[in-house]
Structures are given as C-alpha cells and as structure tokens.
C-alpha cells in the first residue's frame, strides 16, 4: 500500500503507507519537509495538504475541529485537508496529496 505526495518543487514521492497511521505521520516518517508543528493535535494547520479531487470525495468528512483549524491555513483550497486528521486504511491505497505552501518547512 502506498500514498503519493507532491512536494513544494512539484516532485511526486511514493510513500509506503501504514494502516492506522495518519497521512501526516507517513509524510513526516518519509522525511519530507512537512512542518506539522503541533505533532498531529489539530491545533496548528501546518500539516495542510491539497487532496486530489477524486480522492477528496472518498475521504471521511472533516470534523468540526478540523474545519475550524483550517481557518489558520493561509489559503484554503476546495480540497484542502489537515493531513494529521486523515487516518490511513486500505481503502485509501494510492491516495494523492500535495503539500500546501504553509505546510512546507
């Protein structure tokens, strides 16, 4: 299982996915420069990713907490999500996301 992550230079990285981990944790573990300042506590919005539209529709809804915290993102896109709030399961094999500018270290 894998996820595909596009970095700030437009380069796509294929990352080994782990069931039960969040997308932020997998990106961080892979050594990509994601800020994720609050370590996944949904209080910073610096793990902001833009999800590919088809995949966005398949993700579970944002919680109210995530919607609120996305307000701290500097620019919010139609398919913006906080990657620490997306937990991976096998149905997300192949998930495609792009690091938002404010998530990049």
């Amino acid at each position: 299982m894998k996820i595909l992550v596009t970095d700030g230079h437009g380069v796509e990285h294929e990352i080994e996915a782990t069931d039960g981990w969040t997308v932020m944790e997998m990106i961080r573990d892979a050594g990509l420069p994601i800020k994720a300042e609050c370590g996944g506590s949904c209080v910073c919005a610096t793990c902001h990713v833009i999800v590919e539209a088809d995949w966005f529709a398949k993700l579970p809804e944002k919680t109210e907490e995530e919607v609120d915290m996305l307000d701290l993102a500097l620019e919010v896109f139609d398919t913006s999500r906080l990657s620490c709030q997306i937990e991976f399961d096998p149905s997300l094999d192949g998930l495609k996301v792009t690091l938002a500018p404010d998530a990049i270290m």
């Binding site: 300042e37 209080v43 919005a45 307000d71 500097l74 919010v76």
Partner: protein, 343 residues
C-alpha cells in the same frame, strides 16, 4: 558592566515548561534568573498551542492540561523570584570582556550574566504571514500582525483577515475608530466565541462594516503605502477591496529567529549539545528542551526537565567559579528548604 543592564546569574531565552523548570534547578543552587519570551504569556507551546488539552506523561501527575502544568511550574518556581521579560524577542548577543554574556531584546532591555541558557523550543512564536507578493515591504506602515496602538488606525480604511477570535475582536474594536472596516474570511463560518460572531454580524447588518467571503490574492499600492487588497470569492469572483491598512490574523508559527545569529553551531535549526552538561559548542551557552539535539533525543517535557537539572550543575561552575557544589535532596536539606521558603 553596562549602564542600565540587568545583572543576573543566568539568562534564559524561552519561558516554556523547560525554561521554567530550569529556574527551579538553578534556584536550588542559588542562581538567579531572568527569562525572555516573545509571547505575551508564560508557558511556551503548552500555553500557546494546547492550554486546554491534557498531558498524561508528566511523572507523578497522571493528567494535567498545558495551562495547569504552566501554573504549577509557576507555583513551584515562585520562591526563586524569576524576572520575566515578556513580549520581547531575544535579539542580539555579545560577549563582554569579562567573559559574561550581554543579551539585548527588541524592546531595548539589556541583560548581563555569566551563563546563557537557550530554552527556545521550536523557536520563537511569530505571526503566520499570508503568501502575498511584496507583503514584507508594507509591514510596519500598512500591514500589522497585532494592534499595539489603536490610534494608528483612526480614520483609516482597515481590512482585517481571518476567522478566529483575534480577527473578530479587532474588527469589533476598531470599527468605531476606523473610517471604514472590513473583514475577509474564506468561509461564512467562524471559530471565534459566539458573542463575538454575533457582534460582528450586527455591525455588518447595520452597514457599519463589510464582510467578504473571499481569499486574499495580492496587494495594491506603492510600498509601504497600501491602497487595496485583491480578493477573490467563489460568488463574487476577483475584485479589489480599497483599504490602507491590513491586519492578518492566522495564528502563530515557530521560527528559530535571532538565535541563529548567536554564533552557536546549529544542525537543522537545532543546537547540538553534549549529554553531560547540555552545553553548546560555545562554552557558557547551554541549550535545553526542544531546541537541542543529541543522539537519542526525544522532544518530551520530561526530557527537558532532566536536561535542566544537569545543565544547572555545569552552569553553577561557570557562575560561581571556585565554589564547591554540594549534592543535596530537597527532602532532607535544610539549606534547600530555606531557599524554597518552606522552613
């Protein structure tokens, strides 16, 4: 020695949990401390990022919130009377002829001490800046991330950006002062306190202020004088909102900042230290808590507490050369108990 400089034993940069506990460990050894923090409150990440969230891994405290931990630490260090310099950025470090450190803050405070402890955590908390071209050139004249003097905004056309408490509070507070006031937020929902949302909506309904559901795309004007902000909304499309002041409120982010210029070795924005003294490559400058790195480092509060204790032993030798250090327990030492004011 310099005029008007505060003389102390140890200067601590950062009033997060680790800087606070360092006050305690240094205090037990009889060392006085001054702390500098850019935040307007004490507690670092615990107070700024998760005051109400629970922490479960502080030894002996099964659960406490970030704010409770901060309050308890303040209670614990009170006997040592630490001096705080809040809302100040530790900016400039020089070494004096006598080997002591001289630290200057952006507010002009000068501190001098034989020992400097960097407990800067993930860095200084600074406002998040919107990605707008040329933004920096407008700062200080047309773009502000905080309101220090309301008068500056009198009779101006002010655009406030963001959807949280700071954005709404300032929209409401500046409305009677500004010539024109507007709020821009990406959605018609706000994570601010309900009474603020109500007050904001009332101002808009009465036509005393504008609300734009849009995002900022660019600045108009000749720096540093703003004339407008380009906005783009789903329904409205792109347009220019005329204004001469912009106040963006998107929360804070952590940036290493001036510590990078202190002449200390850095590794990926962290300060490498030895694990006996937690001293940097510069003798007399120590680094504890999230800001340091060494093999096996874990960014946990409890690790920082341990680091503070060991650092203090080494700091004592610098601050009190020639004096002997006695290892004592707080439980049984009457000397320590006197310092703690419990005897």
């Amino acid at each position: 020695m310099s005029d008007n400089a505060h003389q102390t034993d140890v200067i601590i940069v950062g009033a997060g949990p680790v800087g606070l506990f360092a006050v305690f460990e240094l205090g037990l050894l009889g060392l006085k401390t001054h702390l500098v923090d850019i935040l307007d409150r004490i507690g670092g990440q615990c107070a700024e990022l998760y005051p109400e969230k629970p922490i479960y891994d502080i030894p002996g405290i099964p659960v406490c919130t970030g704010q409770e931990l901060t309050d308890k630490l303040m209670e614990q260090i009170a006997p040592f009377d630490p001096q705080f310099h809040l809302s100040e950025m530790a900016e400039e470090l020089t070494r004096l002829d006598n080997g002591h450190w001289r630290l200057k803050t952006d507010a002009g405070t000068v501190l001098e001490a034989p020992v400097l402890v960097i407990a800067a955590g993930g860095g200084s908390f600074v406002p998040k800046k919107p990605h707008l071209e040329g933004l920096d050139d407008y700062e200080g004249e047309s773009v502000f991330y905080a309101v220090r003097q309301m008068e500056r905004f009198r009779d101006k056309s002010v655009l406030v950006a963001g959807g949280g408490d700071s954005a709404l509070d300032w929209f409401i507070a500046l409305q009677p002062i500004a010539r024109k006031i507007a709020l821009v937020h990406h959605r018609d929902g706000f994570r601010a306190a309900p009474h603020s949302v109500e007050a904001m909506r009332a101002i808009v309904a009465e036509g005393k202020g504008e609300l734009h559901i849009a995002q900022m795309k660019g600045l108009e004007g000749t720096a540093p004088h703003l004339t407008g902000v380009r906005l783009e909304g789903k329904e409205t499309g792109a347009f220019v909102h005329e204004c001469d002041m912009l106040l963006p409120f998107y929360g804070l982010t952590m940036k290493l900042g001036p510590v990078a210029e202190f002449g200390i070795n850095l590794e990926q924005n962290l300060i490498p230290v030895d694990t006996a003294k937690f001293e940097s490559n510069v003798p007399g400058i120590f680094a504890i808590g999230d800001i340091n790195t060494y093999p096996g480092k874990l960014k946990l509060i409890l690790s920082g507490f341990h680091e503070a204790a060991l650092m203090s032993q080494a700091a004592f030798k610098i601050a009190r050369p020639g004096e002997r250090l006695r290892f004592q327990y707080t439980t049984s030492s009457s000397e320590l108990q006197k310092k703690l004011g419990v005897r």
